[in-house]
């Protein structure tokens, strides 16, 4: 029986690779209200996020960092998906993103194009890469919403 070729289309979706090559909102803000840093000490991935929060809303956001395609594309897509959103909506988005990756839940409708990360759930050691930018943003989110229940990856 021939061995099937491994398929990576699911993990490295086109959208992900596009964000890796052409990160959105990469850089710094002039007047951020928060400067946040996250490092994954096991692999060395870094994500730095600057946010301007006003009226419980993310007015502007930028990121920088270095690391694998998953962590950096996740950071890029995070910025697109939270800009202009209320912190409580972002908290829900974060919970749905985590549920999809960690618990293998079907993507919730509000995830939109973040659904592209669904394939990462099949690679448990890479889940932390996709979650890293969201963990970095937690500090801002937690300012507005109670900490979610249950295990955190």
């Amino acid at each position: 029986m021939p061995i099937p070729e491994p398929q990576f289309d699911d993990l490295y979706r086109e959208l992900l690779l596009d964000h890796m090559r052409h990160p959105r909102n990469r850089g710094a803000l002039e007047n951020p209200t928060h400067r946040l840093d996250g490092v994954n000490p096991v692999c060395g991935d870094e994500v730095h996020i600057e946010v301007a929060v006003g009226d419980s809303e993310v007015r502007d956001i930028a990121f920088s960092g270095l690391g694998c395609s998953i962590s950096q594309s996740s950071a890029s897509m995070l910025t697109e998906n939270v800009k202009g959103k209320k912190l409580q909506d972002i908290a829900r988005l974060r919970d749905h993103f985590q549920a999809m990756l960690v618990d293998g839940a079907d993507p919730a409708p509000d995830l939109g194009d973040l659904e592209a990360f669904q394939g990462v759930a099949r690679f448990p050691v890479r889940v932390k890469c996709a979650m890293l930018p969201w963990k970095v943003l937690d500090e801002v989110i937690e300012g507005a919403a109670p900490a979610p229940q249950g295990d955190r990856q």
Binding site: Y12, C43, G44, F123
Partner: protein
């Protein structure tokens, strides 16, 4: 040349499929697999000889003690040490180095004294000295590497001076594969009145070791990187040194006479083996040493030198791929780190794993070296006695797939 196919028959774990393909295990610098002989020794000990050592009068205790001490003698013979009593069993290389930092360093270093080390050190040969420097006021002096990934020996010569109390250096780099000229370094250090510690975690499994010809004062390594079980490390010290050092840990087994306020210590090496040691794993390590002895370390080295050369050539056939460290297999071991252009090491590892190939991605506990190489991380394939050319081919095939996936992203975005 080794009869690799016959050797492979001794390693049960190698005969499995991972992700639908035969396992290709190329993460030997992290830990090696265990031959049936080592697994059997572990089981046999628990089934027939298990007892605590050095105390009992009964038959089992005598058998266990004899086997445990017998392995100490085997270790001494394996590394060319004159006396088994200069061999201390620890948990791992890290603990061996910490033992020296605590038991020797605390007593011998004064403010301004210098500990010389290199930027290619594993964190286990950096952090204990940083902690020691904090406790004593000693200063750390780092030696750089050359563009070829070898130790900057002229710089080392310039740094070693009257304030140098210890030169602590890796024998074979776990990232670059570089083999450092430990004998020359020991001469330089001794001329300045300093001692030399050699981190042999990567060299003891792969090279014939003779501590007397190396000329070092301490030699540290781990069993699990040379076919043995996890949880066993070795510290060898030049005769007389251990006697001059105070114990590292206090407790049972390491005492002679205990009085309410003060006690006297057991003879070396028992002075440094407080508490019940890892008896079973030490005894199984003896089987690993027998196995390597049966092959011969010179043959191990010859096999790996050939395979490292093959791997370096095969990897460099991938366009733009960079191999870190010396390219000449005579100057290096079988730990081959590389960077694939345009693909992050973690993405490489995930893709390669889908082909059943186990390699490492990350900073390899060498963040100073990563910074020096200006890479966030690398991939590393590391070889041992059971690896074959066809496994290198499987790795290279998987790497081609990794570059294809990410090149696809490039070409697509180019026409956006």
């Amino acid at each position: 040349m080794l009869d690799v196919e016959r050797i492979r028959e001794d390693f049960p774990i190698l005969h499995q499929q991972v992700n639908g393909r035969p396992l290709v295990y190329l993460d030997n610098a992290a830990t090696t697999q265990k031959p049936r002989q080592v697994i059997d020794a572990l089981v046999r000990y628990y089934e027939t000889d298990n007892a605590n050592i050095h105390r009992g009068i009964h038959a089992l205790a005598v058998r266990a003690t004899e086997q445990y001490e017998g392995v100490r003698a085997k270790v001494a013979a394996h590394i060319g040490a004159a006396n088994p009593s200069d061999v201390v069993f620890t948990r791992n290389t890290t603990e061996s180095i910490n033992l020296v930092a605590r038991a020797w360093g605390d007593a011998n270093l004064r403010p301004g004294d210098e500990v010389v080390l290199s930027i290619m050190e594993h964190h286990s040969n950096i952090i204990p000295w940083q902690q020691l420097a904090k406790r004593t006021g000693a200063v750390l002096r780092y030696v750089d590497i050359t563009g070829e990934g070898e130790l900057a020996i002229d710089q080392l010569r310039a740094i070693i001076g009257p304030r140098t109390k210890l030169v602590t250096i890796v024998h074979m780099s776990n990232v670059l594969g570089t083999i450092n000229p430990v004998g020359d370094i020991a001469e330089m250090a001794h001329a300045a009145g300093a001692l030399v510690l050699v981190d042999g975690a990567q060299s003891a499994p792969h090279l014939p070791i003779d501590v007397r010809s190396l000329g070092c004062d301490f030699f540290a390594f781990s069993a699990h990187k040379m076919l043995g079980p996890t949880g066993v490390g070795v510290l060898w010290a030049r005769p007389g040194l251990l006697e001059s050092m105070d114990p590292f840990l206090g407790g049972g087994e390491m005492i002679s006479i205990v009085r309410p306020e003060e006690s006297t210590w057991a003879e070396v090496p028992h002075k440094f083996e407080a508490g019940t040691p890892n008896i079973a794993d030490v005894i199984a390590f003896g089987a690993a040493l027998d196995y390597l002895g049966g092959i011969g370390m010179a043959n191990v080295r010859r096999h790996e030198e050939h395979l490292a050369g093959y791997a370096i050539d095969a990897l460099r056939s991938i366009e733009g791929l960079k191999v870190h460290g010396p390219l000449d297999p005579e100057r290096r071991g079988g730990a081959v780190s590389f960077s694939v252009p345009g693909v992050h090491p973690h993405d490489v590892s995930t893709i390669v794993d889908s082909y059943g190939v186990a390699i490492r991605a990350g900073h390899h506990c060498a963040q100073l070296l990563m910074r020096r190489l200006q890479v966030p991380a690398t991939n590393r394939a590391s070889l041992y006695i059971y690896n074959r050319e066809q496994e290198i081919d499987a790795l290279v095939e998987a790497l081609h797939e990794a570059t294809r996936i990410f090149a696809r992203a490039d070409s697509r975005t180019a026409v956006r």
